[in-house]
Symmetry: C2
Subunit: 403 residues, 2 copies
């Protein structure tokens, strides 16, 4: 099992490619939680996520023969970009297999960091099979995304930075996908500061760790489904599971709606973009899924910011809708003069803002001459949504809430 | 006219409410431009924008009688939030009139900072009239958003911070709405460092300064139209115009598409949210609207980040579409087995990713039994869009490009 010395040894190596990312106190989230919240802004890391740390440490510690042969890996996301830049900086050749439907933006970024990118397979599993074939055929070193002591130690440098910048930290909250990030951070934190809590968070749709801890062995899920694609793994690694069992205080889960709300709040209040996985620790804190004392010093690790901008727009709408700040309804207007004006007046009286109205007279579900409308609205919260829908229903409208 | 001493005197006062915001070197935008680009991240300012600086300096220098009477102002945006927090911190009562259709998120934020908010009028102009009536009736001090020497001096503290953090700066690029921000910054920069260029940028749909400079007097536009609502003003102030004439080297304009592209890039590459006005200086740099030498040290001032999240989703799509990375097309599928599969196969062969397909058999524009589809796609750039549309047209589809 890796120990503190491995993480300490990783630190100088990792500095060759990676920045010591900011740890920023946040008025907003401190006020919302009653804790002293400092955000570890790994979203501002080179390549947009923490993966470059582990990849850099792994490549730096490879035997010369492996470095000469080059590395290969499979990834649809942050690991691809991290390996690409780490390898290029080390003068090591990198071949990266990405699934055919990987976002074009991520494929382009990985190529721009200097790797050879091959698009192969319908999903990560097929891409990984292809990468392992290249490992065998070309004798390249397969650089695993998490289940590797040197990768874990590299990610752990985040823990050292947190302790440097905020020695009084009480609790660190970390997302768990394959477990590489939390293994490294927990090793650093517990090694230097045994009383500081390390709490892991998984997306509810990809939560293998809680049942694994209960079973005393790794459980593999049949399927995963979450908007936090960076942590959508069916199981953690063998070596990461050992570290989690030993050094992580607690593991909790959050729902996709909770993740979307936290992501939207980080944008709106902290002006900071994170990906779904990066929002998970703050989601657990805001939802009270993590217990804490008033005034406790808490660090959510915002692990990365690589979210496809089209996905982002969907997640924002979901986050706003989940908190009653965005509402899409459908209703039918009867064909008489002033029907739309009357509807709009009720909405205005209720204090909601209209973003958009789609008006459709051709829908087959309504009587001839009536019109179906879909309305997108800005609202003030769940109570306001209920008040608005109630006012419209009182006026005789049949309201279908779509989002 | 204000001078350097006014800005220096503002500095300690402003520190009571505002942070010295980061000035971050950016690999990405340096590589894209060939310049050394450092971003002044005023988007991370308290209240999300620079306005709190000027409001704080103004309130701190008011006579005691005015402080006791309280302040009043009108604003739909950043000035409202800046005045609210500055007044609350100074123990001064603030009454702020916001137009009735102001985004709910901004109304809530302004109230949360401790101001009394009144919703009045269909636009800024009606809200301002109401605020002036309150000024007369209640004897409150009207706190102007830009045309006030103490407000200008407060905003100028940004210039001092830039010089502190990067004394070698060659060029500072600043958005212009009413002119308060650039007046203050130009006064600080030219006072300390006459050789550093200060360049102003307006949105093309709200660009009164270029014609004003040509005419030698302020020109007022009849109407303004831009996605950068923070700088959608019909003219600059009297006193700000004098400073701009004297101390600003050049004023240029950028289009809404250019603003949207810069905003989307800042999110995607710097993980940082700015509002439209905050994206304007980077837009001017990326588009080559500003001349510069290879390796020149340039600071775009990202003035604020308060953009309504629903507006944001629209702007992101516009930015992606403007660079050929998002495409929405409409076409007709004839009613025979496999029609959709054939269409999808051509798209896949061209290497585009499908985000969404809307399928509509009820449209009145197509023959019975045919179906109209609308398809949202991820593409790799303008060339790729042309290639994809060409391939579909070669296969016999009539393609309507919507976005």
């Amino acid at each position: 099992m890796i120990d503190l010395a491995d993480v300490r040894a990783a630190r100088d190596r990792v500095a060759a490619t990676s920045r010591h990312t900011p740890l920023d106190y946040t008025h907003t989230f401190s006020a919302m939680t009653g804790a002293e919240v400092h955000l570890k802004l790994e979203t501002f890391q080179r390549t947009g996520a923490f993966k470059i740390r582990g990849a850099t440490n792994r490549i730096a510690t490879l035997p010369e023969a492996d470095r000469a042969a080059g590395v290969v890996t499979a990834s649809a996301g942050n690991h691809a970009q991290g390996v690409a830049l780490a390898a290029t900086r080390a003068g090591v050749d990198a071949h990266i297999v990405m699934p055919e439907d990987a976002p074009i933006s991520k494929v382009k970024a990985t190529r721009a960091y200097g790797a050879e990118v091959e698009l192969f397979g319908v999903d990560y599993s097929e891409a990984a099979d292809r990468a392992h074939r290249i490992e065998r055929e070309e004798g390249r070193y397969y650089l695993h995304a998490f289940d590797d002591p040197m990768v874990m130690a590299g990610q752990g440098t985040i823990g050292l930075e947190i302790l440097d910048d905020l020695p009084s930290v009480d609790t660190v909250i970390v997302p768990i996908g394959g477990g590489g990030l939390i293994s490294g951070i927990a090793t650093a934190i517990k090694g230097e500061h045994p009383d500081t809590r390390v709490i892991g968070v998984q997306a509810a749709g990809a939560s293998s760790v809680v049942p694994s801890l209960e079973a005393g062995e790794r459980v593999e899920l049949d399927a995963v489904e979450t908007i936090a694609d960076g942590i959508a793994t069916r199981t953690v690694g063998e070596s990461t599971f050992e570290v989690i069992r030993e050094r992580v205080d607690e593991v909790v889960t959050v729902s996709d709606d909770e993740i979307a709300v936290a992501l939207a709040l980080l944008l709106e209040r902290a002006k900071t973009l994170v990906e779904g996985a990066g929002a998970v620790p703050l989601a657990a804190l805001l939802e009270g899924t993590v217990d804490y004392d008033e005034g406790e010093t808490i660090v959510p690790v915002l692990s990365g910011g690589n979210i496809d901008l089209n996905t982002l727009t969907t997640v924002i709408v979901r986050g706003l809708a989940a908190t009653g700040r965005y509402l899409r309804i459908r209703t039918v207007l009867h064909d008489r003069p002033g029907a739309l004006e009357e509807f709009v007046a009720i909405v205005a009286d209720a204090g909601a803002n209209i973003y958009a109205i789609q008006h459709d007279r051709t829908s087959r579900d309504v009587a001839m001459k009536d019109a179906e409308i879909e309305v997108d609205l800005e609202t003030r919260g769940q109570d306001h949504v209920e008040e608005l829908v109630g006012a419209l229903e009182d006026a005789g409208y049949v309201i279908d809430v779509l989002v």
